[in-house]
């Protein structure tokens, strides 16, 4: 062991343990508390929170590692990871397990892995690299827009076949926002939306559960006993919390009536415990995350870094706001989790990876502009 080793270790830790990373771990612990709050009445009260804690420990290690990794190393390694994870997206259709009609998980001795979650940061890196490579043709349709659109379509196709339209929506919104922010032409995005609208309407019309979700979203009371049930319970759970909440451990409505109070509905569960006043910090954290990404983008001179940071920030932000909007009845129900808070190891891994990549890329934000890398 040379004298350089402790210095390297200190540098590693200094780069790996950042205030944002610590905040993420803190939110992860809050998530464990929220999951326990929603599930402690079950016969196995530590079934969910125990697993989530183990995933959190792994995620913390991953976060430190990714944050401390050099940007260039990440760019060297990610293509191989992307290939592996992309293959997993197709393999899960064949070998995966089906939950609630969606074949999206690999299961092994009670451990579930959802490739579409883990793929998010890799998709963003692919998108950022694609934008970087086509930067010279940014305003063009054929050489500037179609290639990056192809990246999106390649990644969302296997996810649509699961089917997991909530996650597909996250990918699409991330693509659209990142492309627009990185100098793309909004006309192409609008044109794509118009052209794909008939196909979207056809898919929604032909898929019964999607149709039910939209009709119940428009008139939840009319479908109170069926597809509108979840929407009504979101509202009632939040109302039960009131201004100041019922306190931790007393989220009675969430435990009794609200489906998936530990994952898809966790924001409403926390709302019943903490009240309106307790939920406001969550909204502020989301705004703070966007501001943090904005400040990092302002300081970089690298197009690739700017695209990557924008993508990671937007991906998590879109996911979080879709979750909040669904819980508030502003969007039809989807199976989207709240990053760092909801139960789900794959989502936790994807989130900390995205945060770690933002930290790693931000560290090299003062490098000179690069035209060809």
């Amino acid at each position: 062991m040379t004298r350089k080793t402790p210095v390297k270790l200190l540098t590693f830790l200094r780069h790996g343990i950042t205030p944002v990373g610590l905040a993420c771990i803190g939110l992860g612990l809050l998530g464990c508390l929220a999951i326990y709050n929603a599930t402690f009445h079950l016969e196995a009260p530590f079934q969910y929170v125990g697993r989530q804690f183990v995933w959190l420990v792994l995620a913390a290690t991953l976060l430190v590692t990714v944050s401390a990794t050099d940007r260039k190393r990440i760019l060297r390694v990610f293509p191989w990871l992307a290939i592996v994870v992309y293959a997993m997206l197709w393999l899960v259709l064949r070998l995966g397990v089906s939950v609630n009609g969606m074949t999206g998980w690999f299961a092994w001795h009670g451990i579930f892995l959802q490739p579409s979650e883990v793929a998010k940061p890799l998709f963003v890196l692919c998108l950022a690299s694609g934008l970087q490579m086509t930067a010279k043709h940014r305003g063009e349709f054929k050489h500037g827009y179609l290639p990056v659109l192809g990246i999106l379509l390649a990644w969302i196709l296997p996810i649509m076949l699961q089917p997991d339209f909530g996650t597909v929506l996250t990918y699409i919104l991330t693509f659209a926002i990142v492309y627009a922010c990185m100098g793309g032409r909004l006309l192409y995005l609008a044109g794509t939306a118009v052209v794909s609208l008939p196909a979207v309407l056809l898919i929604v019309g032909a898929t019964p559960y999607l149709r039910d979700r939209f009709t119940s979203f428009l008139h939840p009371a009319a479908h109170a006993e069926t597809s509108g049930w979840h929407i009504l319970q979101f509202q009632r759970t939040l109302a039960s919390g009131g201004a100041f909440g019922q306190s931790w451990g007393n989220a009675l409505w969430a435990r009794t009536y609200l489906p998936f109070g530990y994952s898809d509905s966790i924001f409403a569960t926390i709302g019943e415990s903490m009240g309106f006043v307790g939920l406001l910090p969550f909204v502020l954290i989301l705004v703070a995350w966007v501001m943090y990404g904005y400040r990092r983008i302002q300081r970089t001179n690298s197009y690739l870094t700017a695209a990557t940071i924008t993508g990671m920030v937007v991906c998590l932000e879109v996911q979080a706001f879709i979750h909040l909007s669904v819980n508030l009845g502003m969007l039809p129900p989807t199976g989207i989790t709240l990053p760092l808070i909801s139960y789900g190891g794959s989502s936790l891994i994807a989130t900390v990876t995205a945060v770690g990549i933002v930290e790693a890329f931000s560290r090299s934000s003062d490098e000179p502009p690069q035209e060809n890398t």
Binding site: A135, K136, H137, R138, G139, E140, G144, I177, A180, C181, M182, G183, Q235, R236, L238, A239, S240, G241, G242, A243, L252, W253, T256, Y257, G271, G275, F276, L279, L280, V283, L286, V287, V290, M291, G293, Y294, I297, Q298, T300, N301, S302, Y303, A306, A307, T310, V314, E317, F321, L324, S325, L328, G329, M330, P369, Q370, E371
Partner: protein, 245 residues
């Protein structure tokens, strides 16, 4: 005409300015989220709580025990006793019916011996009376099962007892059971019904989506006021008792 190529530095400048719109967009979205939160959790909260109360809270009465009718010497002529009955709605599912049947017959031994499993299976869906007077030990054994199965329940009933002499009984009158409470319909039972009846208590409990009680939410919202004892101008004299004998 070809689209002019842009240098990356120009694109970075564009991205910096467009990212500001991104911040504004998410800022507006967060304001909409906050407004919606306030609407549900503060402004319209009462409306949602009323809906929740209608759909999930159940109110019921706690019957009061009826007062006694006493003669001038304080001898009881009419009195009530409380008993606990056990009823079972036979499940439609044969496997569940068998499982519950075996549990009931091995754990509590309350079933009449004349009934059999085959007999039960032919009457699925029916509610049958398993026992009409549980003792404390039987009650303690059954209580955990009633929490697990929503088709097994224990209810209380009152039974009115009267002095066995026909002439006295005729003057005492009769009661009817209405909503679990004894109501006087003739004789002294009717004449003094307002004093004898007492005032029932009230409780409320939350129901889960299957209609089962959530025990931890049970709360009494009004106390029971037992009925008063009433003295009537009669005397059960020793002569009358000898005559009866």
């Amino acid at each position: 005409m070809t689209t002019p190529e842009r240098s990356q530095s120009t694109l970075i400048d564009i991205s910096r300015s467009r990212t500001l719109f991104l911040v504004l967009f998410f800022g507006l979205w967060s304001l909409a989220v906050t407004a919606r939160l306030a609407q549900i959790m503060v402004v319209n909260r009462r409306h949602y709580l009323l809906e929740m109360g209608r759909s999930s809270w159940h109110q019921g009465i706690l019957p009061a025990i009826r007062g006694r009718i006493l003669d001038v010497d304080g001898r009881p002529l009419a009195w009530s006793s409380r008993h606990f009955v056990c009823k079972w709605q036979i499940p439609q599912n044969t496997a569940v019916a068998q499982q519950q049947w075996h549990a009931l017959t091995t754990l509590v031994h309350v079933l009449p011996k004349t009934w059999s499993l085959n007999n039960m299976l032919t009457r699925s869906g029916e509610t049958i009376l398993l026992h009409d007077d549980l003792n404390a030990t039987q009650f303690a054994k059954i209580a955990p099962l009633t929490e697990k199965w929503n088709n097994l329940y224990v209810a209380s009933r009152f039974q009115r007892h009267h002095y066995p002499l026909h002439a006295i009984r005729k003057r005492l009158g009769h009661v009817q059971i209405v909503n679990g409470m004894e109501i006087g319909v003739s004789g002294y039972e009717l004449a003094h019904d307002s004093l004898l009846r007492g005032r029932p208590g009230m409780f409320r409990v939350m129901l889960d989506p299957e209609g089962r009680w959530i025990p931890s939410t049970w709360e009494k919202i009004r106390d029971i006021k037992p009925g008063y004892d009433v003295y009537v101008p009669m005397r059960v004299s020793p002569l009358t008792e000898e005559t009866r004998q």
